[in-house]
Symmetry: C2
Subunit: 426 residues, 2 copies
């Protein structure tokens, strides 16, 4: 069945369950797509086609009773896999074979998934970028640490892939590539076997091409009935949240956000402006302090003993973190906690916040990386966030729409986002 | 200098700095002590004497400018070491050589420490116990996951050693062995390279034989000036906190706690009773729910794919965790957060809480493990806690005195504990 690489995970799993598609055929189509596109996109750090096919054939011999049975999944290469090398985006660890699969990899295997391979990450999910290009236009970047997973999903190499976000590393590449990115509430998925960058905000999430898939994949990872299949949920009220960074957004971004708000209003939702308390404007910078402090502790080994193999960006981050006294780090954590406690009040009258994913379209490869000023606050607030692809901008690349839900209300948030996805697609 | 194994880390580091002791001599004395005692105590999972001596000789050739220069350190074997195997207390991983040193191992190496070896841990720091016996009486247990580090420090194999606590795994073995155990405020030391049990409460800490060493070692791990040398700090007020579990303590424990309170009062401190809000009585059980839920996710790989090598205790824990719905897990986390917010009010009038470390002395090897009902609440409250050795009980084994301080006030808490250590020693 040529063309099955375009199926969503939900569609593919249904067909495999019904017997109208085999995992081998699906993986073959995905591999053909990768073969055609990878030289331009560079989304994969490690991919052994025969290994993926062999897993697919094994799935085809089993009863198709897992929610992801036979569906190939991409795995960001900071995530341990026992049967594939894990390089963490660093030349220091080219030969590492972890002793175990990360908890999340086991969870999707248990749900029947086929592991396609390891996707490109920036070095240790930090600021030294990797090679992946934007599948919509390879002269542009994907950028940010989960770049390989975002590009692989957007470009139909796999229907779903794991990513992680500490600052903006899921929402930003999803926004640049025009796929869905989901960073759950902090702490939702186990991080065992995921190399940390900064534990205060490290969050495992995933990329997909439909909200139905985001829900299916969440259910597969957590095996929790609250994510089980169900109806899209109409939100009651949406808050348009420009944030203190609004002026830094391109006119096309502002127009895309305001247009989305209007369309949701036209679809019958109540849309109101939500203004964050003044203190929230500090959260972006605060997250960077926390990240630097924790990364400095985390990467002491590489900095002290493997320095030649560490990028300048990571070395600088460690050095910056070492200048931050513990009291300042604690004050930064305290601000995050204070704002988190204020969040239920901020969202008192709305179910969902709508805000930009970034300041504009994906820059050219040779341009600066772009910033995460519209993302970091939500990460430090521990809220679940979703990027949906908005309209294309001046350069023909997608503009991201970011939505945030209530803390630990992910199942309802995802159902509401499924409704919004439908409303904006019409 | 025979006998240097009895020195504290602070004393040894001073002598090495002054030139009156070499690291090689100190490590040699410690190795002789281990040779004599290890057949009975069984504190070490991996120890290569020549490797430790070689590190010591290398330290002796360097300038002694780190705070732990030349001092040997024990490392709990759930903590990664690049140059020693790391077994995680599980037969599944006998051959594992991690790609890196854990952040904490690097930190003490940077401070000049010599890594002595890897100490025995229960399987994955969980409930399936290891082989270590109580150095005070080898017919009795050390028990709980950081057993090897507690026994090694109490028995003068090393002056300091890393442990970790998710439920009661530092305070309990310290209490059984009669050494100091320190579980810092949650999040104080980086956990990169420490295999997780349950991330909501996993906390890295250490064992020592003097409060001066606890402070020195904390400063060495964090390189933060707030832990730098200073005077012991006289607490203003101490709260005697019997907790809802008081009746489960042996009479000897109750007498030891009340006697310590009296002695602190006689030393001039104001001592008052502190009664916890009723809701706090649920925290013990709540921690177990959280631990089971998170462990079930964390150990999915071993449970699904390496089951034959997993203990019944760990398999049962995973199974228990899988029965807990996400909503119940979130409610458990919420209770912890609510009680944490109430804690500053509870400690409004006191600097330090005094409470039992356990219900009695270390049981015999063939007896049940004992419980952590006096420890788990403080762990879930994220508070810094210290075990000091109290009087010996009916069986000639030490009774533990547990002290808790304010969240993220560790530097002041440790200085106050140094004062209390002195007051109780007189």
């Amino acid at each position: 069945m040529a063309g099955s690489e375009n199926l969503t995970a939900s569609e593919a799993a249904r067909k495999i369950r019904e017997g109208s598609l085999t995992s081998e055929a699906l993986v073959t189509d995905c591999l053909l797509r990768i073969e055609a596109r990878e030289p331009e996109v560079l989304a994969w750090h490690y991919l052994n086609p025969e290994q993926a096919l062999s897993e697919a054939r094994a799935r085809d011999k089993e009863a198709a009773d897992g929610p992801l049975h036979g569906v190939p999944v991409g795995v960001k290469d900071i995530i341990d896999t026992a049967d594939r090398p894990t390089g963490y985006g660093s030349g220091l660890y080219d030969e590492v074979r972890p002793a175990w699969d990360a908890a999340c990899v086991t969870a999707v295997r248990r749900a029947g998934a086929v592991i396609m391979g390891k996707t490109v990450t920036s070095e240790f999910a930090g600021f030294h970028q990797g090679k992946t290009r934007n599948p919509r236009n390879p002269k542009h970047m994907t950028g940010f640490s989960s770049m390989g997973s975002a590009a692989a999903v957007a470009d139909c190499h796999v229907p779903v892939a794991f990513g992680s976000q500490t600052g903006g590393s899921i929402i930003k590449p999803a926004s640049f590539c025009g796929c869905i990115g989901y960073k759950p509430s902090y702490g939702t998925f186990s991080l065992r076997g995921v190399n940390p960058l900064a534990q205060a905000t490290d969050t495992l999430g995933h990329f997909a091409r439909s909200m139905e898939d985001v829900i299916l994949f969440s259910q597969a990872v957590l095996s929790d009935s609250s994510f089980a299949e169900g109806e899209a949920l109409r939100p009651a009220k949406v808050g348009l949240c420009r944030t203190a960074e609004w002026d830094s957004a391109a006119d096309s971004v502002k127009a895309a956000i305001e247009n989305a708000a209007e369309r949701l209003g036209a679809a019958g939702l109540s849309v109101s402006e939500v203004v964050l308390p003044a203190e929230f404007a500090k959260l972006n910078e605060t997250l960077i302090e926390i990240l630097a402090y924790e990364a400095a502790a985390n990467f002491a080994y590489e900095y002290e003993f493997r320095r030649d193999g560490l990028s300048d960006e990571m070395a600088s981050l460690v050095e910056k973190g070492r200048t931050i006294p513990m009291a300042q780090y604690h004050a930064a954590l305290d601000l995050g906690e204070r704002c988190r406690r204020a969040m239920p009040g901020v969202m008192d009258e709305v179910d969902i916040l709508l805000t930009p994913s970034g300041e504009g379209e994906a820059p050219l490869l040779e341009e600066p990386l772009g910033r995460t000023q519209f993302i970091r606050s939500w990460t430090l607030l521990h809220l679940p966030v979703i990027n949906l692809a908005g309209p294309v901008g001046d350069q023909g690349l997608p503009i991201g729409l970011q939505f945030a839900g209530g803390f630990r209300e992910d199942p309802a948030f995802l159902r509401r986002m499924q409704w919004i996805e439908g409303a904006l697609a019409n």
